[in-house]
Every structure is written in structure tokens, then in C-alpha cells.
Symmetry: C2
Subunit: 327 residues, 2 copies
């Protein structure tokens, strides 16, 4: 592997001059530049990024911590982050926790080890002092979800307003007994659940804890929800706030096995507006999240901070109800 010194020798100039040519420094004569370019081509030379980094340059690598890339929501988010990063000359490392929160610390250490210039964290539960400091230093950006107690900046939709939107629609359709599914376990800072409860209260509807289903993840979770719901001997809910289109798709598929008709026997509200929401039968009524915008904003903010540029101001991330067939 050719080094800058090889190039310098071949072009009969100093290493300094080669470096200057490489970095488009002014004050390199056209003639010299040509010679150097020829030498680089002959030697099939590529500058060693590692050496450049050691001299203070950035790694031009950022990371994104997600739970599962197989969750389409994250696939779309990662897609947008990657595209934005690439356009700004950064590559993206995917860091999956797969539910193992200890990995989070390990991933975040990659910043201290200089492997990564920064990280986008998409689903933080607990913000350690270290994380708070890295946020202050502009090396960590929170995106999508943070359910801890500290007051930290997060690039996200207005979670409470979004679930208000959806819940209100269910109530308008006449539902008074509505189940709530969540992928997490019950948490005081779950703004989506807060918005849900608030809307119910506003309408004078009481929520029964037996209608709260936690740890419901993906299509399999949706199926489990339906099975559990059918197995209870109390009065069944007539609608469900599924908190995800995958969950909704699982519910709809399982409902067919129980010969339940959607939405007449059970109304199913999705969340996210993933492409799959238009592929089920019936199609999923859901709440659209501007996921592309969210990913782009997070990447732009992180890179701006890394490069010590002002973070561009952005419009708020707005959700909207997409009415299809499942409610």
C-alpha cells in the first residue's frame, strides 16, 4: 500500500507538498500538482484516513443506536439518516441493541475511542451523566423517543398530541372501551399513553387497567394481544390503540383466524403509517409520522454540531391521521 512518502519520491517533491496538493491547499503550482496527481494514479494511492484522523481530522463516521433494524420504522429512519450523512460526507454505523440496554454504553464508548464522531440515540430510557455530557458536547443527539425523567432535547413528534389525534378519532367513531398496546413496560414518562388517557378523560371515559397491554412488539405481539383479549372473560374492548402498524397488522391477521371482522367487531388503529399499512386487508387506519424528516433533522443536527456549525432551525414534526379501513 503506497504511502504519501512513496508519492513524494515518485513525484520528486516533498511530503509537505503532496499533502498540500491532497488538501487543495493554495500555493501549489499547477505543474507540481499535475506531477503529483500522476504519481498518485501510478501508485494507486489513497490517503490513509487513519493517519489523517490522528492528526485531528474527524473520522467522518457517525452511529445510530436502534433496537432492531428489522422494525420497518427504524429501517426507514436509518435510510434517511444514512442518505443525509452520505450527502455530507459521513458514513453511518448501525448499532443494534436488540433490547440489551447494556450494549448502549458500549456503543457510546465508540465516541471516546474516536471511532465515531457522534451518535444518534433513538430510544433512550435512562440518561446517564456521561450521556448528558456528550449531548452538551454535541456528540449525541436524541431522536424519536426518550422516556427518562431529565429534560433533554429530543428530535421527535409531539407524542401526546399524536395519540390525542388517534384516540379522539376512535371516540368519535363511538368507542368507549379502548385497549392500549405498548412495546415497553409501563412508564410514567410515556407521553403517548398520557395523551391517550387525557383524551379519554376529556370524553368522560374511564380506562380500565385490564385494557393495558405491555410488551407488545411487532406482528407477533399483535397476535398475542388478540389472543389474550379473546381469552379474557371480562367485557372486551371494541377498539385498540395498537401503537404501531406492525402490531396492527398482526392483530388484523389474527382476527381473521378468530373470525372477527375488522373494524366492526374490533377497530384497530395503527401508528407510523408504514408502507405495510396500505397492504393489509382491511388497510390500516393509522397516524402518519414524518419519519423521513425526523431522520434528516437528526443527522443534520448531529453533523452540524460535530462541525461546530449552527444547527439549522426546523419546522415542528407534524403527525396526521390517515383514514383507511381498520377503524
Amino acid at each position: 500500500m503506497a504511502s504519501i512518502e512513496d508519492v513524494a519520491k515518485k513525484a520528486r517533491v516533498s511530503v509537505t507538498t503532496v499533502s498540500r496538493a491532497l488538501n487543495n491547499h493554495p500555493y501549489v503550482s499547477e505543474k507540481t500538482k499535475k506531477k503529483i496527481e500522476k504519481a498518485m494514479a501510478d501508485l494507486n494511492y489513497f490517503p490513509n484516513n487513519v493517519a489523517q484522523q490522528l492528526r485531528g481530522k474527524k473520522s467522518k463516521m457517525i452511529g445510530v443506536i436502534i433496537s432492531y433494524i428489522t422494525n420497518p420504522f427504524f429501517a426507514y429512519l436509518v435510510n434517511e439518516i444514512e442518505k443525509t450523512a452520505l450527502a455530507k460526507g459521513y458514513n453511518l454505523v448501525v448499532l443494534q441493541t436488540q433490547g440489551n440496554l447494556e450494549l448502549e454504553d458500549f456503543f457510546i464508548q465508540l465516541i471516546s475511542k474516536k471511532q465515531l464522531d457522534g451518535i444518534i440515540v433513538t430510544n433512550l430510557e435512562h440518561a446517564t451523566d456521561n450521556i448528558v455530557q456528550l449531548i452538551d458536547e454535541g456528540k449525541i443527539i436524541l431522536c424519536n423517543r426518550y422516556i427518562g425523567s431529565k429534560d433533554l432535547p429530543v428530535i421527535q413528534i409531539d407524542e401526546e398530541a399524536a395519540s390525542y389525534q388517534g384516540t379522539k378519532f376512535l371516540i368519535e367513531k363511538g368507542h368507549r372501551k379502548i385497549a392500549f398496546c405498548t412495546g415497553n413496560i409501563r412508564n410514567a414518562h410515556d407521553h403517548r399513553f398520557k395523551g391517550f388517557l387525557k383524551t379519554l378523560k376529556e370524553a368522560g371515559i374511564e380506562f380500565s387497567d385490564t385494557d393495558y397491554y405491555e410488551n407488545i412488539l411487532g406482528a407477533a405481539g399483535g397476535r398475542q394481544f388478540l389472543q389474550k383479549m379473546m381469552a379474557t372473560d371480562t367485557l372486551r374492548p371494541t377498539a385498540v390503540f395498537s401503537n404501531g402498524d406492525e402490531v396492527a397488522a398482526g392483530i388484523i391477521s389474527e382476527a381473521r383466524k378468530f373470525q372477527l371482522t375488522i373494524p366492526t367487531d374490533l377497530a384497530v388503529l395503527g401508528f407510523d403509517d408504514q408502507p405495510m399499512a396500505a397492504l393489509t386487508n382491511p388497510e390500516i387506519t393509522t397516524i402518519h409520522q414524518p419519519i423521513e424528516e425526523m431522520g434528516r433533522l437528526a443527522a443534520e443536527a448531529l453533523i452540524a454540531k460535530i462541525e461546530e456549525q449552527p444547527v439549522p432551525k426546523a419546522a415542528p414534526l407534524e403527525t396526521r391521521l390517515i383514514v383507511r379501513e381498520s377503524v
Copy 2:
């Protein structure tokens, strides 16, 4: 940011000794080790990976070139590659071409620039000399699909056998006019289409070029296919080899709009066996690919080659027909 020298000063030993403690070198007394560990903790020290790399260590980063992470097939493949890599101490960089093949070269240069130790290429069309050389050097592994003319090792299913499997089933179900969808444009090295044609020929069925649909991508592509098919004034096919579950889901959804019943009016065969195949109505009959195994094997092979270890021998990747409802 504390450096090894800071640690050495604080622990009152030489930099050499700190380095040795860091690398679990023998011949460091327990007492010294303790002192050093304390100093490292006090200073919140992390070794600078960049400096380590410059001294010849690996970057412990590998890449995977894919078209779109939003394609669930790739999301699942990336998931498995990432998990395998992580277990071996490597991180994974996602490199999306989004159909722009020029990016491929750019991504591959990351190896020469020492940013990445190696790359898994999932959908190569044309193998340049540079790529062939990197394959020889064990820095590139081909996985999933390579449709060029050179004879190169690829970690993949037996494409021809897989489409034979599916096509045969369609024929057994009585279909004699079967459409073929592909995401690419027509190519002599498309083994899936070869297997399709071969099966037809074996059954004495002729294939009409008007039943070949190229550039059909994702659910939107499936919808387009159905619209085109319905618009032709020639005899319509009674079945379609969709070449992907997303495409199949799009066809099924669009068929409902045309009041076509699946599978009686049109049998739809998927490919991949993605989770979504069990979520549509009717559910998708498809060909299962061992995608987890494929991702794992590719990551293991690449890392073995990077570390100059023997590549573990693996069982062949077997596909199987999953009969659901759409055929």
C-alpha cells in the same frame, strides 16, 4: 481527552508499561497493573483506536453494500450481519447505493483508505479488476446476488433450483401462462429467470416475452405490474412469479381494487418468506430463503479472511416452498 501519556504520568510508570497493561501483556506486575487501572479510571481514559490502527491494528469496522435498507430482505440480512459482526468485535457500516451504482466504487475505496477492514457486497452486477483483487485478498465477500459474467464465489442460495421449486408448483396447480416479474432489467446471468424458463420448458410450456415484466420493485412495483397486466388486450396470465414478497403484497392489494380474487383469478407466488407474507389477506405462498444463515455466513467468512483464519465450511443454503393461500 486523556492520553496514554497522561495515564503513565499519573501512575508513575512508562508509557510502554501502560500499553502493556492495556493489551494484557504478561510481565506486568499485579501491583503496577492496579496502579495503572486506577489512573485510567481517574482520568476516564479510553485508548484512542485511531492511534492503535495506525500502528497496524484493524479498524474493526466492516461494511455492507446494499441497495435499500427499507427493503425488508436487506433489513433482515443486515440484522444478521450486524449481530454476527458484533459478536466478533466488529461494527457494521451500512452503505446504500439506492440504485446509484457509481456509489459502489466510492464505498469500496473505504477499504483502501483504511476506514473499513472489508465489505460484503450484496448485489453486484459488474466485477471490476479492483473488486476481483479485493476478493482475492479476502477484503470483499459477495453475498446474495452476482449477475456478472466472471466466475466468482458468492454466498447465496441455489437461485436456479429455488425458482424451479416455485415454478413447478405453479405448473402443478394447472397454470400454463405465467408472468415473470424482476426488479432488474433482463440479464443473461439471471439464474432465477433461467430456472423459471427451464421448468416451463420441461413441462412443454412456451413463455411469451409479453409476460416478462422488468424493473418491478417493491409493493409499488407489484401494483404497477397488475395495472399493466390488466391493461393488455392479449390473453392474461393466470399466475405470476413475483420474485419478492413485497411485490406479491402489492399485487394482492391492487387485485382487490380490480375485484380480482386471489388465487382463483390470479395466483401470486412470492419470494423470500418475509414476515409480511403471513400478514396479507390472502397470505402469500412463497419460497423461503435462509436469510439469517446467509447473513451469518457472509459475516463469518469476511471476518475469518480479515483475520487470516480458515473460513469455516458451511452447509449449502437451502430454500423451501411455503404454501399459504395466494397460489
